[in-house]
């Protein structure tokens, strides 16, 4: 197994600030918008972006939630492991809101398909956008694209993209892992 660094801490920092700016450009004061991190790996990215939006751009009103997709996934009973669920926390109304899904890596698009179904249980959003730190191009199984992309990566199927966050892994970095 070998691994290559795709993004360093400094680059991640620049990208997060750019993504935050893009969100502000489209959503202005976030009165009609909510950010929803996809469990489990979208949560840290969501916290970071929310932090930047609150601290550096003085947005004081921001609705942030977590959405778990486990029960909506299409690989139930098709993978070897039981899929274990995580918490969903959506303490606000999504009806008629602009929802931004946030996840670390966009790969086959199947998680996003599950998220699109899952969010319907909470209401009918006005629009749904997708923000991902890493977009693995040419590997989509479904016609799904991100609205906001941190970095595009070309990786083949037996490679893995790993995102590390300093709050959990003591460093900010993105790796490409080869088996």
């Amino acid at each position: 197994m070998s691994q290559k660094v795709l993004l360093h801490a400094k680059e991640i920092d620049i990208i997060l600030n750019r993504l935050a700016c893009q969100l502000i450009e489209n959503h202005k004061d976030f009165k009609e918008t909510c950010l929803i991190g996809l469990q489990p790996r979208g949560i840290q990215l969501t916290h970071r972006l929310a932090e930047i939006l609150k601290l550096e751009t003085e947005i004081d009103f921001l609705e942030v939630g977590k959405l778990d997709l486990t029960f909506y996934r299409d690989d139930f009973r098709r993978s070897d492991k039981t899929l274990t669920a995580n918490t969903t926390e959506i303490d606000f109304i999504v009806e008629n809101k602009n929802v931004v899904f946030i996840d670390d890596v966009l790969y086959t698009g199947r998680s996003i398909r599950a998220a699109l179904t899952a969010i319907q249980s909470y209401g009918r959003p006005k629009s749904i956008e997708l923000l991902t730190l890493i977009d693995r191009r040419f590997s989509r199984h479904l016609p799904i694209q991100a609205t906001y992309k941190g970095r595009k990566v070309d990786a083949i199927d037996d490679e893995k993209v790993k995102v590390h966050w300093k709050e959990i892994h003591d460093e900010d970095a993105v790796y490409l892992v080869k088996n």
Binding site: D68, Y72, T82, S121, Y122
Partner: protein, 312 residues
Amino acid sequence: MSELSVNHLLGIKYITEEDIQLIFKTADQFKEVINRPIKKVPSLRDITIANLFFENSTRTRLSFELAEKRLSADVVNFSAASSSVNKGETLVDTVNNILSMKVDMLVMRHPQPGAGVFLSRKINAAVINAGDGTHEHPTQGLLDTYSAREKHGDLAGKKVVIVGDISHSRVALSNIFALQKLGAQVKVCGPLSLIPKHIESLGVKVEPNLRKALEWCDIANMLRVQNERMDMPYFPNIREYVQQYGLDKSLLDSLSKEITIMHPGPINRGVEMSSDVADSDHSIILNQVENGVAIRMAVLYLLASKIKSYEN
């Protein structure tokens, strides 16, 4: 730990503490699901479940059926009263006929202890025991401990007394196993004629005095007197039972501490407890019923995930 150690849920005796914790963790998520505006998830959309009830049930059957439907499973119901069992068909034949119609899971209540275990050895489908005679009622044991945990936090070291007809109660046995696996101390209380002779071999103490038992415990689980299972009189009359083992508000208020009251239902108001106790803030009876659906969804989900799909 992300997988159950068993392929069937036949009794709490056969599962581990890790299994119980995994079921609880999954049930937490399903509890959130059933409190949403849309209470349904698509996980079990390609699973068919047969509910086989060879004995009467309202709550358990409704609870299982709701759990199955909220997981999007296809459901067929069967009750012995209207079936060919009355024409002399054996259990295995009945079930194999149902399975030929491509059923993946069975939820079964049966008057014979061990019916679930027997069936799981004979047939090729996941079996969930919804009560087998006086033996076990595992989902009830799980939902009782889950509800107690919700109120009291970790059950390790907590004191629980099970009051009433222990001999005829499958709820008692499943509760004892579940509580002990989670580290709680268990006592039973009731007329000695309704307490199994060798119950102490399970590590359970017997306290024949209700007041002493209640003073000792954090949680009291009041069981129903199962008149329908009594082939002979076990106590002189109901009035005497109520005097000695009925819980009323004045007894509850005279205790030196606040305790939580549970009951698996259906309640005989005025027998095992008075109405003002059943409806008081101490009682978590209706929470138990709500949690029952979440627990059964978790059990169904975790067992279904062990049935491999056709491509495997």
